[in-house]
Subunit: 199 residues, 2 copies
């Protein structure tokens, strides 16, 4: 409504993106407001004014993370054969570990990190996470349904069960990769799963 007043001196979206990287790489608890203030080049009060408190800020970052991920997922699965695309979805976190030797580089899936750190104590975080899981399985199940119909994917299980299994796998893979991973072994496991889905 009110459009007057001193203009914001920083780009809110860009600040959220940078905060996302910080939260992603360090987690919620290990990222202090001071860290954010330093990294975003703004003052404490500005941050609170623009984003509310730390928790809201984090949840907004998670939401941004998921929205971005969901868009990529949907795009990857919307055309062409499904299994190669799913293979990529799984192989990505398996390979990401190679870049992650530096501290400060994001690790794992931020939804998974949030699940582990915030969900037990934060109902709103649980909602965001649960919704993300539901969206993931829905998008993947839709793709698998098409692929079953076209004869690409086995009908030994329902698309929903297969999608749920893929959710578990991608979440587990992202998590395990944080502890260091033999990339070749991880890719072999991914291949084993993809092969098992083949009709």
């Amino acid at each position: 409504m009110a459009r007057t007043g001193r203009p914001r001196a920083f780009d809110k979206d860009q600040a959220l993106e940078r905060a996302l990287l910080l939260f992603w790489s360090r987690g919620y608890g290990a990222t202090s407001v001071q860290d954010l203030v330093d990294a975003l080049t703004l003052e404490r009060g500005s941050l609170y004014g623009a984003f509310g408190d730390k928790r809201q800020f984090y949840l907004a970052a998670v939401q941004l993370y998921w929205d971005t991920y969901e868009r990529q997922l949907a795009t990857a699965l919307e055309a062409g054969p499904v299994l190669p695309a799913l293979r990529e979805v799984l192989a990505n976190p398996a390979r990401a570990q190679e870049y992650a030797s530096d501290v400060g580089v994001p690790q794992g899936c931020m939804i998974g990190n949030t699940t582990a750190e915030l969900v037990p104590q934060d109902a709103e975080a649980r909602e965001i996470v649960a919704r993300s899981h539901a969206r993931f399985t829905q998008i993947v199940a839709d793709a698998l349904r098409r692929a079953q119909a076209s004869g690409e994917v086995t009908q030994a299980a329902t698309p929903e069960a297969q999608a749920q299994l893929l959710l578990f796998t991608v979440q587990g893979l992202s998590l395990v990769s944080r502890a260091g991973l033999d990339t070749a072994a991880a890719l072999a496991a991914v291949d084993a799963l993809i092969d098992a889905l083949r009709a």
Copy 2:
């Protein structure tokens, strides 16, 4: 060496077990030393005297958790058909969620929780976690090798790749279950995986 001095007034093992439950249900960061002091019915100084600082205490609890889990895993897989045992290994976390409506009840796999919360910043935690992963895959791969030889499990993939896939799945399942889970859907996914392993 020196065996004299005032005797310890509490059972160290029992204190560690109780601490394990606290750390397991709340995580590292959300469990304060004060919480531990309250729950273990001992004084601050005694805790520090017996276990060192909070981090060492947590790592000791994680180690206890893993040792217990590994023993159960090895026992479950040492005799009889492998696939039903593996099914149970996976189905357990899927069902555990039903009991976990209460706050204070442990949730998820503590190795997974540690991976998410401590591993990025703690080399010693990473070692414990990585060792646990290696032990898991080794035990499971050994069982799968026997099962492949006996014709119970498909030889479409190596036992190592299958074991790695099972690690991902159980870790992902434990994690995802924290956000609430449709038990039936999770079990359907588990069945889909077990069926895919069948020869």
